[in-house]
Structures are given as C-alpha cells and as structure tokens.
Symmetry: C2
Subunit: 332 residues, 2 copies
C-alpha cells in the first residue's frame, strides 16, 4: 500500500507533513509519498535524521493556495503538490491521498483526476463533529450545494458503511438533518428524501435537529452541502467563542489564574474533547480511491492521524463495498 501526502497544503507545510509522516512511518504498513519541492523535502528529512525507506518524495514545484480558484488551479497548476499527488492515484501508483490544502481544490482535483466510484451520483465531503458520547459523521458539508433526494439517500448509505467499517460501529444510527423531528418537517428536499432513506435498508432513525447532534443521538447525520456546511461552521465558531471566553476568564486576575491551575487536568480533557484534530481528517466519500482532507491548520499529530485513517480506509475496502450497496440511479 502507498499513501500520497500533499506536502504543500495547509498552514504548517511542509514541516507538519514531514513530522507527521515520520511519526506515522513507525505505525503504518504503507509507504508514504510526499509531494512537493524535492530539495526542500529532502533537506528537511535529513535535518530530522530520517533514513528509513517508508517515505518517498515526488517532486512538485507548484503550490495551490486558498487564494487560487479551485477549478482553474487544478488545470493550470499541473505541477502542484496537489495535482501531482492526485495523478499518482489516478495512475494507480498509490492507493490513498491525504491533503491539508484548499478544500475546493481537493474536491475539484479529486473529481477530475480520481473520479467517482461506480454507482455514485455525487461524492460527499464528510466530517466528524465532537459529541457528548464520542463523534458523529456529518455529510455532505460542502461538496454539492444543488443536492437532490437521491444524493441524500446515497450519503446515508455511504456514511453508514464508512463508519461501520472504519470505526467498528456495529449498527450506526443514521439521521437526516431537518428543522424538526417529525417526518412531515423539513424543506422539500428533506421531505422527499425521508421515505427513500427509510425504505433503503439503512438503520434510519428519522429527522434530527442541529441542536441534538452534539448530544450523540446519531452516528451519521445526512444533509445537503449548504446546510451541513452551515452546521459544522456554526459549531466551530461557537466553539472558538467559548474557548476564547474561558481563556479570558482564567487570565483575568491572580485569583482566576489559581483557579485555572486547580482544574488544569480537567481543562486539558475539555480541550481534547473539542479538539477536531483528534478525530482525523474529513473523508471524501464516493470517489474511486480514499481521499482525506485534513484541517488546514493541521500539526504533525493531525497529519499522523490522517495517515492512519487513510490506511484504515484502504484496508477496510469500504469503496468496493459501497459500490455494491448503493441505490441505483442509472449511471449518468
């Protein structure tokens, strides 16, 4: 097995990628191919005294940034670390791809170079959100905004099998995001998708409101890419607001600083619960090969987690299984 790691996506590239790859190289079976400026990558590996054979480098001199227009960039920057990496997947020289780069460019590039898996109408970007009892997979969070009922049905099927296979959840509870829990609630899209998911064989627990998601009532939450994006970003923003407020509270005076010391252990635990990097990256479901989008601010540990997640994604052969069970729509 080989995993391609985009060496030049994200805020801490290429250092977090190199450190993350070295960390993972002791843990996973796969070889890791880092794409990017060969001279720099080699120099950094040498600096860290890495001389194993699990990490390879594929030269790529260009970089796609968040300022590039995604669909344009993946065409006009063929020598970017992202496109060089995706082409290795396309040419079957590697089995999975991990990047901390621009979500839009990863999406556009993956659809263009890797392509949809058999039977998939629209791929979905899935992400984990922390809950009271663990985590919950939410999809789609932004791959498609013009979502059809069929897409929601396929997201339910893809999400269920991914979380079942890769996270060993026996009978994951799949819910549909709506503005009320009753079957009759929701947008036209939700109302149309509801009976289709209900009849699909998925372990469907019905509609769910966004306020229930943090309490762990579902393992998979299905939604259109627009409202899914709104939901995870609302949680993210509110989380940062809270963190800032806590920080301010504990830094206010000598007394509050003592207070912080007394709950240090608990605060660390709290921080860990709400630390997205602990849960690995966001898988792109519905493509021919495993693609993981890790957070742009990923550090070495997050990259390490994403690489482990990618190997797990390959080993569990989720994609083959997905294509077998997906509801048919008549290939486009």
């Amino acid at each position: 097995m080989k995993i391609v790691l985009d060496g030049y996506g994200g805020d801490n590239s290429p250092y977090a990628m190199i450190d993350g790859a070295i960390l993972a190289s002791n843990k996973i079976e796969s070889k890791i191919i880092i794409t990017g400026n060969e001279d720099e990558l080699k120099r950094e590996l040498k600096k860290r005294n890495y001389n194993g054979d699990k990490i390879e480098i594929a030269d790529a001199k260009e970089v796609i940034t968040n300022y590039d227009k995604p669909t344009k960039a993946v065409v006009e920057k063929p020598n970017s670390s992202l496109v060089v990496g995706l082409k290795l997947i396309k040419d079957e020289q590697a089995d999975a791809f991990v990047s901390c780069g621009s979500t839009g460019a990863i999406l556009a590039g993956s659809i263009r170079f890797v392509g949809r898996a058999k039977g998939v109408n629209r791929p979905a970007l899935a992400t984990f959100v922390p809950t009271k009892t663990g985590v919950c997979l939410v999809l789609d969070v932004g791959a498609t905004t013009a979502t059809k009922p069929l897409n929601l049905l396929q997201y339910a099927q893809m999400g269920e099998i991914y979380i079942k296979k890769c996270y060993n959840i026996e009978n994951p509870r799949v819910a549909l995001l709506s503005n009320g829990t009753e079957e009759t609630k929701g947008s036209d899209l939700v109302k149309e998708a509801y009976p289709q998911i209900k009849d699909s064989g998925v372990n469907f627990i019905g509609n769910i409101e966004a306020r229930q998601v943090p309490f762990g009532v579902a393992d998979v939450v299905v939604c259109d890419g627009f409202s899914g994006n709104v939901m995870i970003k609302a949680m993210e923003g509110f989380g940062v607001l809270f963190k800032d407020a806590l920080k301010e509270m504990f830094y206010k005076s000598a007394l509050t600083k003592i207070s912080a010391l007394l709950v240090k252990k608990e605060l660390d635990g709290l921080k860990k619960t709400f630390d997205y990097s602990e849960y690995g990256g966001a898988p792109l479901l519905g493509l021919k090969k495993p693609i993981i989008k890790a957070h742009g601010s990923s550090n070495a540990k997050s990259v390490y987690h994403a690489l482990i997640q990618a190997e797990n994604f390959i080993k569990t052969r989720v994609i083959e299984e997905m294509s077998n069970i997906l509801s048919d729509f008549g290939e486009e």
Copy 2:
C-alpha cells in the same frame, strides 16, 4: 397601547406570564391583556396582591401545545389563549402580541389572523444570537423553507430597519449566510439573492460563513429558514454541550469546586453572555402588527423583557416604515 400576552404558552405558564406581566407593568406604558383561564389568572394575580389597572384578562379556556399540529390547532381551537389573543390584534383591540407557545402555531396563527404587512411576500422569524461584541439578528430561522431570492432581499430590508429602529444601531451591517465569503460562493438561492441585496440600498457587507457569526462581524444575518434554523440550533446545542462540560469539570472534586468559587463572578458573567433570555424574544417580521415569540422555557424575567421589546416595537413604528422601503414584488 395594549399588548396581549399569551398566558398559556411555554413551560412555565401561567406563572411566568403573571410574574413577568407584574414586573413589566411598572416599566411600560402599555396595558397588558393576559389570555387564558380567567378564574386561574385572577386567582394568581390576587395571590400576588396585584391590584393595579395595567393588567387585564381575556378569558380563553383552550390551550395549544407543542403536540398540536399548528395549522390545524389554530382552526380547531378558537378558544385557545393563542387564538383569542391573535383575534384581539386582528380586531384592533390591541397593538402587539407576545407568546412563549409553539413556534409553529404562533406562525400559522399570526399569518392567518393578523396577516402580512403591505408589500411583504413572506414574513420571517428573526432571532438574536449572542456574539463576542453583543448580539446579531438572524432571519429567517424557520418561517419559510421554500425561500426565494426576493424573500432574502426583503429579510435584509426588514432586518436592517428593525435593528436600526428598535436597537438604535446607526448603520447595521447586513450579511448573507453562505458556505464561503466570496460573491461566487453559495447555493443557487444565495448566488441569485447576492446582487439583488447589493443593489438594494441596504448596508450589505456580503457573504458570511456561520463560523464568523459569533464574532460579531454582522448585525443582521440573512438566510433561508432551513439553514437559519440549522445554524441557531447548532449554536444552541453546542452551547448546552459546553455548559454541561463546564459544570461537570467544576463539580468533579473538592479541588475543582474551590476553583469554581475563585471564578464565580466571571462564570456568572459568562453564563449571562450565553443566556438567550437576556436578549428578549424572536420578533416575527413582515406581519401587520408586532408579534414576539419568546422562548418556551421563558421565566418571568424573559417575559418581562419580551413585553418591553413589544412596546418598543410598537413605539418605533417599524412596521409602517418597513412597508415604505420594501422592494416591490407585485402584490400576490
């Protein structure tokens, strides 16, 4: 001026309503008409030694609950505290309406009995969310899920004038909720509404992501009722999750309890910031008269705030002004 208060909506009815009304009666000019079981309401007022002339009672023996189907209930329960109240507004015997009852029933009843203001295509339910710098008005959060670009434009206009007039914000910043900040980002609905809002004379600051909302970058956030509902409920749920986690942290041991004592003042401040009841209820914008939906779990203080908000809504004559500036759509 007269304000109708639904005496039998919400978890703490009718006690929170009676206490809230008595509190408000010393603060506002308006008379307050509480709808509901006359005998019980009179008895409760007597128990509290209220013998002023600012509170009246309108008898209504039925109650609409959250279990009732809204559109059906407002027809089949003509003697409910909600419908009796709304009919007082319709018959111009009162000027504003406050209820802590079922959102769906308030919406359905208001549209049926009070009706849309001149020039309004679809009314919007607007709600306040706490931010780092104050509050932000989000609309629509659930009145309509089949939203058209024109509706978003009118929400922008209605939200701007409401916050300007009722909250004295000189030049409120109006933003459009999207899944990216660029003008080209968003669902088809958002992309179509963007130029219309931009050209409308509203102080439009462009697209905003849900994660930015808690940081106070906008005073008014415009969205379709489905994703608006998702956003505020995601924030609400994540807020409760955080509160629970904090509570657990501080109650863990003798040491953590001491820690809590040391930051007691700051914790109270934090709690206040994230306490929705401080900001009053959710105004229904676009109806002929001011209608305020207060939280179902409202206590006397929240009811008091909602009554003050309602009087302010009447006094500022926002509705008349709204009808003058709304973009024309050709009355249906």
